[in-house]
C-alpha cells in the first residue's frame, strides 16, 4: 500500500497544474485548488476509517531504500498522533483556501502562485507528519520553510519581507542544530547497530551515554522549541503571524507549529528518554514561563493588534502542550496531543474571523472595533465561540485537553499543575477583554456599515465551529485514537509510580 504517498502527492500534482494555468485564469486557479484540497481531505478521512485504533505503532507503512550509502530510506507511516495531525492539516487546507479566496490579490506574485504554494505546503505537511525516517522528516521540516517563506514574504502585509526572513532564519538555525544531532545519531547507530540507519523504530533501540544523549537531545529540542514556539525561542512568531495573510497564519499556527510539539513526542521522548527525564523539570519551568509570558503579552495587547494578540495566546497554549508532554504521564501526553488538534481548530477560527474583521474595517486594532454584535452578529458569535474555546470553557473542545494536561501534570509535578491552572484565569482575561471591547457594547463610529459573513465565509467557518463544539462533547473519538500511542510512549519512559 502506498496510500500515504498518494495522499501527499495529490496536492503537489495540483500545484503543478496551477503553475501551468495562464495567469489571468484566477478564478479557475482558485477552483482547482479548492477542488483538489477537498478531494484530498475526503481521501484522508476515508483512509482514516481503515486505521486500526487498537494497534500501537505505525500503520500504512511504506519503506523503500533511497540512498543506501547513508542508510536513508523513504519511510512513511502514521500512528494515532500523526494521523490526527495530518487530518487537521487536510481539513484546514480547503477551509483556508475558501476563506482566503480574495487574499492573494495584493500579493507580489500572481494569484495562482499563492494557491499553488498552499498546495505545496499541504504536501509538506503530510510528509513531515508521516515520515518515519528521521532524514526524510528533516527534509520535509526544512523544505516546508520555503513555501511558508514565500507565502509570508510575497502575500503578507506590513513588514512582510522582514518577518519572512526572521521566520526563515530562526527555523533554519533550529533545523541545523537538529541536523548536527541527526548526524550524531547516524554515527552512533553505525557503531551500535552495525549499519547506520535513520529509522525511528530502530534508533530507539540505541543506548547512548549520558553526555551524548543530552547533547543530541538539545539539538532536537531547540529546533522543536523554536518551531513550537516555546519561550525564549518565540520571538519570530508574533511578527510572522502579523505579517502573514490570515490563511497563512492559520496554517502556520494551526499546523506547522505543531511539528515542534509533535517532534518532541516522536523524537525527543522516544530517542532520548533519559535526557528527557533529566531535563524534564527545566522544560516544565520553560512551559510555565511560556504560559504566563504569552498570557501577559496577550493581555497587554488586548487593545492593540488582533493578530499579534492571537499569536501571543498561542504561545501560552503551546506552553500547556509542552507541559503535558514533559509531565510524563499518559493523561498529560494524551491531553497534549488532543490540545494540538483542538488548538488547530480554535486558532483557525480566531484567525480567519480576525482576518475578515480586519479586511472589512481596514484596521487591525481592537480599539477601532466596537459593538460588532449588533452589526455583524454571525461574525461576532463565531469569534465569541472560538474565543471561548480558546479560554477552555467546558463544553468546547479545548477544555478537555487543558484539563487532561493539568491532571496529567499533577501526578509528578503538583506545583506546576497548580501554577498552570492560574494561567486559565489569565486566558479568560485576554479573550474576554477584546471580545468585550470589539463585539459588545454600543456600535462605535466607523463600524455601522460593516457587512456580516457572506455565503463563502459561512461555508468556510461553519465546519470549524461545528468541530469545536462537537469535540467539546465527544472528545472520546479523538482520545480513542490518541491513547494507545500515548500510553506506549509513556510506559517506554519507565517512570516509576505511574498508573
Amino acid at each position: 500500500m502506498s496510500s500515504l504517498t498518494i495522499l501527499g502527492l495529490l496536492p503537489l500534482i495540483g500545484s503543478l497544474a496551477l503553475f501551468l494555468l495562464p495567469k489571468e485564469r484566477e478564478l479557475l486557479a482558485k477552483q482547482v485548488a479548492l477542488g483538489i484540497s477537498t478531494v484530498v481531505a475526503i481521501a484522508g478521512l476515508l483512509l482514516a476509517t481503515s486505521f486500526d485504533r487498537g494497534q500501537v505503532g505505525f500503520q500504512f507503512v511504506e519503506k523503500y531504500s533511497w540512498i543506501p550509502a547513508f542508510g536513508i530510506n523513504y519511510g512513511l507511516g502514521v500512528d494515532g498522533m500523526a494521523l490526527l495531525l495530518i487530518l487537521l492539516a487536510l481539513i484546514l487546507t480547503p477551509i483556508v483556501i475558501l476563506a482566503c479566496w480574495n487574499e492573494a490579490e495584493g500579493g507580489r506574485w500572481s494569484v495562482k502562485t499563492f494557491f499553488a504554494l498552499l498546495l505545496i505546503l499541504e504536501t509538506m505537511m503530510v510528509g513531515v507528519f508521516a515520515a518515519t525516517d528521521i532524514f526524510l522528516f528533516y527534509l520535509f521540516f526544512e523544505a516546508m520553510l520555503i513555501p511558508v517563506y514565500f507565502l509570508i514574504g510575497g502575500y503578507g502585509s506590513g513588514e512582510r519581507a522582514a518577518a519572512a526572513v526572521k521566520f526563515l532564519l530562526y527555523s533554519l538555525f533550529g533545523g541545523l542544530l537538529m541536523l548536527a544531532s541527526i548526524i550524531g545519531l547516524y554515527v552512533v547507530s553505525g557503531d551500535q547497530l552495525g549499519a547506520s540507519t535513520f529509522d525511528v523504530t530502530e534508533l530507539s533501540k540505541l543506548s547512548l551515554n549520558n553526555q551524548t544523549e543530552i547533547l543530541l537531545f538539545l539539538g532536537f529540542f531547540i529546533a522543536f522549541a523554536i518551531k513550537a514556539p516555546l519561550w525564549p525561542f518565540h520571538t519570530w512568531l508574533p511578527d510572522a503571524a502579523k505579517a502573514a495573510t490570515p490563511g497563512t497564519s492559520v496554517l502556520l499556527l494551526g499546523v506547522l507549529d505543531k511539528v515542534g510539539t509533535y517532534g518532541m513526542i516522536r523524537f525527543c521522548l522516544t530517542l532520548f528518554p533519559d535526557a528527557s527525564k533529566q531535563l524534564g523539570p527545566t522544560i516544565i519551568v520553560l512551559s510555565l514561563i511560556s504560559i504566563f509570558y504569552g498570557a501577559f503579552l496577550a493581555i497587554w495587547q488586548s487593545n492593540g493588534d488582533i493578530k499579534r494578540l492571537i499569536s501571543y495566546t498561542s504561545i501560552s497554549h503551546f506552553g500547556f502542550i509542552t507541559l503535558g508532554i514533559f509531565a510524563f504521564t499518559a493523561q498529560g501526553q494524551s491531553g497534549s496531543i488532543l490540545y494540538m488538534v483542538n488548538h488547530g481548530f480554535s486558532t483557525a477560527a480566531l484567525f480567519l474571523i480576525a482576518g475578515w474583521m480586519i479586511a472589512r474595517r481596514n484596521s487591525s486594532k481592537v480599539q477601532d472595533f466596537g459593538g460588532l454584535q449588533r452589526v455583524t452578529p454571525l461574525m461576532a458569535w463565531s469569534f465569541f465561540i472560538a474565543g471561548l474555546s480558546s479560554l477552555a470553557l467546558p463544553g468546547l473542545s479545548s477544555f478537555v485537553s487543558e484539563f487532561l494536561v493539568l491532571v496529567g501534570t499533577f501526578v509528578h509535578y503538583p506545583v506546576a499543575a497548580v501554577i498552570g491552572t492560574l494561567g486559565i484565569i489569565l486566558a479568560a482575561l485576554y479573550i474576554l477583554i477584546p471580545v468585550q471591547r470589539a463585539l459588545h457594547g454600543p456600535t462605535t463610529p466607523g463600524n455601522e456599515n460593516l457587512k456580516d459573513l457572506n455565503v463563502r465565509e459561512k461555508i468556510a467557518i461553519a465546519p470549524v465551529i461545528a468541530l469545536i463544539i462537537f469535540f467539546g462533547f465527544f472528545p472520546q473519538i479523538l482520545l480513542n485514537v490518541i491513547n494507545p500511542g500515548a500510553q506506549a510512549s509513556v510506559s517506554a519512559l519507565n517512570i516509576g509510580g505511574d498508573k
Binding site: 514565500f150 514574504g153 519572512a164 526572513v165
Partner: protein, 506 residues
C-alpha cells in the same frame, strides 16, 4: 653510469595529453592567423580535455607509482583527475563564450593607452587564454597525483603561473583585474617560497623527496623531529594558501572579484579540487601516521576558516566577493573532511569537491549573465528584483545558492552531510558543531540574495539578464542538473567514489 628513467606513458597520459595540447596551442597562437585562431584554439582545447578524460577512464584500474616514483596513479588520482577535467570543460565553455567580451583585446597594451584603443577597435579578443588554461589544467592534473615534493612543487607552479596571468585578463575594469593578478602573483610567490622552504627542511629530515621515502623515515623514527615539524608546517602553509584557508585567505576576495568571471569560475572549481587532492594525498597517505600531531592544527584552521568566510561574507555588497567568502567558508567545511581522517572522510571530501565544483561553476556562470551596457553588474543592490524580470535565471541562481547553503534535496546538502558525519565519526565533534553554526550564518547571506531577487523591486538602471548563448546556457544547464541529481540520487556517485577511492599501497 646514468640509466634513462622509465616513463609509463599510459598512466601519465592524462597529464601528458593536456600539456602537449597546451604546447600545441602556443604554436597555434604563433602561426595561425588571427581570424581563425578562436576556432582552432577552442577545438584544440576541447579535444585536449576530451582525450585527457578518455585517458583517465582507461586508468580506472591502475594503482601504482610511475615515472620513477614521482607520480602516483590510484583510485583517488583517477577520481580527482576526472573531476578536474569535467570542471575544466565547464570552465572552458565559459571562457569560450565570446559574446560578453570578457577578455582583453591585447593583454600587453597598457590600460588607457592608444594601443589599447586600437586593439579594442579591431573587435578581437585575445586567445592566449586557451593555452594558459590548458597549462593550468595540466598542472592541476599533476598536483593531486604528485608523489614527490619536487613534482608537487612543479605541478603547483604549472597550475599557478597561468592563473596569475589569467586573473589579469579582464577587458573591463582592467586596472582592478591587473591588480588582482599582481596581488595573486605576489602572495602566491610568497606561499610558494614557504612551500619550497618546507620541502627543503623535509629533505633535510628524510634525505629524500619522495612521499613513501618520507613516510618510511617517519615510521622508522616516530619522534617529533625539529626539521620534520618546521618542514611540515611550511608545506602546510603553502597548501592552505592554495585552498584559501584562513589565515591565508586574504587574496581570495580581491582575486575573485578582479579576475574575469569565467576565470574566477574555473579557478574556484579546478584549483580547489587540485589543492585538496594534494592535501588528501599528503595528510591521509604520507603523514597519516602523524595524525595526532597535525589534526589539532587542522581543527583550528577549519573552524577559523568557516568563521572568517561566513562572518565577513555578511558585510559584502558585491556578488563576486560574497561568492569569494563563500568559497573560503567551503574550504573550511572541506577541511573538516581532512580532520576526519578515515575512509568516510576521504570519500566525503571527494564527494564534496564534486558537488561544490558544479554549484560554484553554475553560480559564476549566472553572474556573467547579469549585465548592463558597461558589462557585468556585480553590485548586489542592482540585483534586486531580478526574480521579477527573469524568473528562470533567478530561479536557477536560487537553486545554486540553496545548494551552497546546504539545503536538502540539493547536492550541497549531501556533501555537507557526508563530510560532517565523517568528522563526527572520527570524534571531532567540535568541528561539526562549528560547521553547523557556520552553515546557519552562511544561510543568512545566501538567503539575503534570494530576498533581494524576489522581494525587492527592480531598479530602473539598465541592469538586465542577457539571453545566454548556447555555450553558457549549456554550462548553466549541466551545473543545475548536476546540483539536483547529486542532491536527490547521489547513490551511483557515492558508490563509485566508495569503490574507487583508495591510495596506492605502501
Amino acid at each position: 653510469m646514468i640509466t634513462a628513467p622509465k616513463i609509463e606513458y599510459g598512466a601519465l597520459a592524462p597529464v601528458l595529453i593536456v600539456l602537449a595540447c597546451a604546447v600545441l596551442a602556443v604554436l597555434v597562437e604563433a602561426f595561425v592567423s588571427r581570424r581563425q585562431r578562436y576556432v582552432v584554439q577552442t577545438s584544440l582545447s576541447f579535444a585536449a580535455i576530451a582525450l585527457g578524460f578518455l585517458a583517465v577512464l582507461l586508468n580506472k584500474d591502475v594503482s601504482g607509482r610511475f615515472a620513477e616514483g614521482a607520480v602516483a596513479v590510484d583510485g583517488v588520482t583517477v577520481i580527482l583527475q576526472g573531476t578536474i577535467l569535467i570542471f575544466a570543460l565547464l570552465g572552458l565553455l565559459l571562457i569560450a563564450e565570446r559574446g560578453f567580451q570578457s577578455f582583453t583585446a591585447q593583454a600587453s597594451a597598457l590600460p588607457g593607452s592608444a594601443d589599447e584603443q586600437r586593439a579594442l577597435a579591431s573587435g578581437l579578443q585575445q586567445t592566449e587564454v586557451f593555452p594558459l588554461t590548458l597549462f593550468a589544467v595540466g598542472g592541476a592534473l599533476l598536483f593531486p597525483a604528485a608523489n614527490d615534493l619536487i613534482t608537487l612543487f612543479v605541478a603547483l607552479e604549472v597550475l599557478s603561473l597561468p592563473l596569475y596571468l589569467m586573473a589579469g585578463l579582464s577587458q573591463r575594469r582592467r586596472l582592478l583585474s591587473q591588480e588582482a593578478g599582481l596581488k595573486y602573483f605576489l602572495l602566491g610567490a610568497f606561499s610558494s617560497a614557504f612551500f619550497l622552504f618546507g620541502s627543503a627542511f623535509l629533505y633535510g629530515y628524510a634525505g629524500t623527496t619522495t612521499f613513501e621515502g618520507i613516510k618510511s623515515v617517519i615510521r622508522a623514527s616516530p619522534g617529533n623531529d625539529m626539521y620534520l615539524m618546521v618542514g611540515l608546517s611550511m608545506l602546510t602553509v603553502g597548501l592552505l594558501f592554495k585552498v584559501s584557508a584562513a589565515p591565508f585567505h586574504s587574496w581570495t576576495p580581491d582575486v575573485y572579484q578582479g579576475a574575469p568571471t569565467p576565470i574566477t569560475a574555473f579557478m574556484a572549481a579546478v584549483t580547489k579540487v587540485a589543492a585538496f587532492g594534494a592535501i588528501l594525498r599528503i595528510f591521509y597517505s604520507t603523514i597519516g601516521g602523524m595524525v595526532w600531531t597535525w589534526r589539532p592544527v587542522f581543527v583550528v584552521v577549519s573552524i577559523l576558516t568557516m568563521a572568517v568566510g561566513t562572518i565577513i561574507a555578511i558585510a559584502q555588497k558585491d556578488v563576486k566577493r560574497v561568492l569569494a567568502y563563500s568559497a573560503i567558508a567551503h574550504s573550511g567545511f572541506l577541511l573538516t573532511g581532512i580532520v576526519a581522517f578515515n575512509k568516510s572522510g576521504l570519500d566525503a571530501t571527494l564527494l564534496y569537491l564534486a558537488t561544490y565544483g558544479f554549484t560554484t561553476l553554475g553560480t559564476f556562470a549566472v553572474v556573467t549573465l547579469v549585465r548592463d551596457a558597461g558589462g557585468e553588474v556585480t553590485d548586489l543592490n542592482r540585483w534586486s528584483g531580478l526574480g521579477k524580470r527573469s524568473p528562470l535565471i533567478a530561479g536557477i541562481f536560487t537553486l545554486f545558492l540553496l545548494a551552497l547553503a546546504g539545503i536538502p534535496l540539493t547536492s550541497g546538502f549531501i556533501g555537507k552531510f557526508a563530510i560532517f558525519s565523517a568528522a563526527y565519526e572520527s570524534g571531532n565533534i567540535s568541528v561539526v558543531i562549528a560547521g553547523v553554526l557556520a552553515s546557519a550564518v552562511a544561510a543568512f547571506f545566501y538567503i539575503r540574495i534570494v530576498v533581494l531577487m524576489y522581494f525587492n523591486d527592480p531598479q530602473e538602471d539598465g541592469t538586465s539578464v542577457v539571453i545566454p548563448s548556447p555555450v553558457t546556457a549549456l554550462t548553466i544547464g549541466i551545473c543545475a542538473v548536476a546540483t539536483l541529481v547529486l542532491g536527490i540520487f547521489p547513490q551511483p556517485v557515492i558508490n563509485m567514489i566508495n569503490s574507487l577511492a583508495t591510495f596506492v599501497a605502501g
